[in-house]
């Protein structure tokens, strides 16, 4: 176990290092980033300050090492306009994004798992047909469009929910529904096919033969095993949620990292974009690491590369 943990940690560190390389070189993609970063009418002094900030007169690998060294000390650069430290800007908004992404994830699992289980148990029946048709539509809908439709219906027409902002639970409903809708579709399909596979296994037949009630067979024997693949996919889809949050936060004026990214792109405040994107990517890596470790706890059958099997 500890060897696996170590290897998995090392892997995560390597990925984060790779992400930092990608993020760093984006800014240098077109040669001198000063022209990109500063507006055309930048003063001589602004240009000089930025050149010094970015160590542009040093060779590129020195610049990169310096970038990493300061990032490790919590200094990820400063906003070009407000001169505020970027890390603070991001950490201020990260809770909002995580709140939105997690709510969307939990909400979609709560809806999708029963949907998939019922569809699998009533395979070919009308409940199966309805839930799988709904899932197909859910998969086909751009989430930002769904967001606008929700605003039109529940805010403009019915006046039930606020259109934007963060603070109350009412404001959380529409953004998380819009963000989670396509995941409901994905998870429901996945649960259904995993359930169908598990229900055909010998141990389920044995459980039935022992005369256990259907609830116990489905709930205890089948569902628990069917949920295992769902955990990995849910973790992978967390990346989708973080990316999707960029658009959904814009639609609902949700004050998260996504909206900060979009705003900074429009302002051409690239240090903020670079650091924020990198931060979300790191969150994603950490989530996947944690889930991988959880996985071994959920499913003791996974051998973790042990040699004694």
């Amino acid at each position: 176990m500890s060897r696996y943990l170590l290897r998995r940690l090392l892997h995560a560190v390597l990925i984060v290092a790779g992400i930092s390389v990608i993020s760093f070189f984006f800014l240098h993609l077109t040669g001198d980033p000063v022209g990109l970063i500063l507006p055309q009418d930048a003063t001589r002094e602004q240009i000089e300050t930025l050149r010094r900030d970015l160590l542009l007169d040093e060779p590129i690998h020195v610049q990169y090492l310096h970038f990493v060294a300061s990032a490790l000390q919590g200094d990820m650069g400063r906003s070009i306009y407000t001169r505020e430290p970027v890390l603070g800007l991001i950490l201020e908004r990260l809770p909002a994004t995580l709140e939105l992404a997690l709510t969307a994830l939990v909400l979609s699992l709560i809806i999708a798992i029963p949907m998939g289980v019922i569809a699998a148990l009533r395979r070919g029946g009308w409940l199966d047909t309805i839930s799988m048709t709904l899932a197909l539509f859910g998969l086909s809908m751009p989430h930002f469009w769904l967001g606008i439709m929700l605003i039109m219906l529940f805010s403009v027409q019915l006046n039930w929910l606020p259109t934007s902002g963060r603070g109350t639970w009412e404001q959380l409903i529409m953004p998380s529904v819009a963000l989670g809708a396509s995941l409901v579709a994905l998870f429901a399909r996945l649960t259904r096919s995993a359930m169908l596979e598990v229900l055909g296994q010998d141990y389920v037949r044995t459980a039935r033969a022992k005369g256990l009630t259907e609830t116990v067979v489905v709930g205890k024997h089948a569902l628990r095993n069917a949920l295992i693949p769902l955990v990995t996919v849910a973790a992978m889809e967390f990346g989708f949620l973080l990316g999707g949050a960029v658009i959904i936060e814009t639609v609902f004026a949700w004050p998260g990292v996504g909206r900060l990214i979009v705003q900074s792109i429009l302002d051409r405040d690239y240090p903020v974009v670079q650091a924020a994107v990198m931060m979300l990517a790191i969150v994603f890596v950490v989530v996947n690491l944690v889930v991988d470790l959880l996985y071994t706890w959920l499913d003791p059958n996974i051998s973790l590369g042990r040699t004694d099997q």
Partner: protein, 292 residues
């Protein structure tokens, strides 16, 4: 014996017998016709403004007129023609992205699976990195710096998705490589390239085709998302995402402006997903879902 389905009649027949796949195929054909042929027949100019006809509702509503069947926007431009022309960009981006990503994924996945060793390690580790980077963020950060254009968008989408194909290709190549007929071909001294082309590639193509269909639907959503954020193909070319973003400002006065382009996107994705389901079932009947 593996009953290798010869890519002759059999899978095609299975595809055409798949009801929802045929519906999806028909719908997709209609969309292609609508986006690429209908605008020429209609001859309406998608950027022609008409301030006398601002915010006209669709034809089925009160005050609607046949001249603008889906109504007009804030500048009096015809929504129908803008949706049709807007689809051209989405469909072309999806097609171009699939082409680039499949080509890269096919080459790198084949190299990794066939040669193994350090080639495999390097390609797959780099792939892990791309998988770890959430797509939308990768795309946004590159476009933020290079600026939006058709080529940049296609390259960036392909860049963020080649690994999906490479992994599938690698898996198929790995299993094909172990077959007896490949060992036989190698034992009589057949060159690597010929083994790849004749014995391995045919096994790889059908899973890639199924995957490409599913992913193409995603590219359309991503492209419209980028346009929605103002990072898509620049104006005046209308795109679905841009129409949605413009319509969002008028949800109080003109619901159709934000609603109808979204329905166009949804129908397109739906048709592609239906085709994808059909192809998957046709190539691999074992995976068949419960739907008839």
């Amino acid at each position: 014996m593996q009953q290798a389905p010869r890519p002759g009649d059999s899978w095609r027949r299975r595809f055409w017998a798949h009801r929802s796949a045929v519906i999806g195929g028909g719908l997709f054909a209609a969309i292609l016709f609508g986006c690429f042929v209908l605008p020429m027949l209609l001859g309406t100019n998608p950027t022609a403004t008409s301030l006398l006809h601002r915010f006209e509702p669709p034809v089925w509503m009160e005050d609607g007129a046949l001249a603008n069947p889906l109504g007009t926007d804030n500048l009096g431009r015809d929504l129908l023609i803008r949706i049709l022309v807007g689809g051209q960009v989405s469909l072309m981006v999806a097609l171009a992205t699939v082409t680039v990503a499949v080509t890269v994924g096919l080459i790198l996945g084949t190299l990794a699976g066939y040669f193994g060793g350090w080639v495999d390690t390097i390609i797959m580790r780099v792939g892990d990195l791309f998988l770890a980077y959430p797509f939308m963020l990768l795309t946004i950060s590159v476009i933020a710096i290079l600026g939006p254009s058709l080529i940049v968008i296609v390259l960036v989408l392909a860049l963020s998705d080649w690994v999906t194909y490479a992994r599938t290709v690698r898996g198929s190549v790995l299993s094909a490589r172990e077959r007896e007929y490949v060992a036989a071909a190698r034992s009589i001294g057949t060159p690597d390239l010929q083994i790849l082309r004749l014995h391995i590639l045919p096994n790889v193509l059908s899973p890639v085709l199924v995957l490409a269909t599913v992913r193409a639907a995603n590219y359309i959503i991503w492209e419209s998302g980028l346009s929605f954020l103002g990072m898509g193909v620049p104006p005046p070319t209308p795109t679905w995402g841009m129409l949605l973003a413009e319509g969002r400002d008028f949800i109080l006065d003109a619901w159709w402006l934000a609603t109808l382009p979204g329905i166009a996107i949804m129908l397109t994705i739906l048709s592609i997903n239906l085709i994808g389901d059909g192809l998957r079932d046709a190539f691999d009947p074992r995976l068949k879902g419960g739907r008839a």
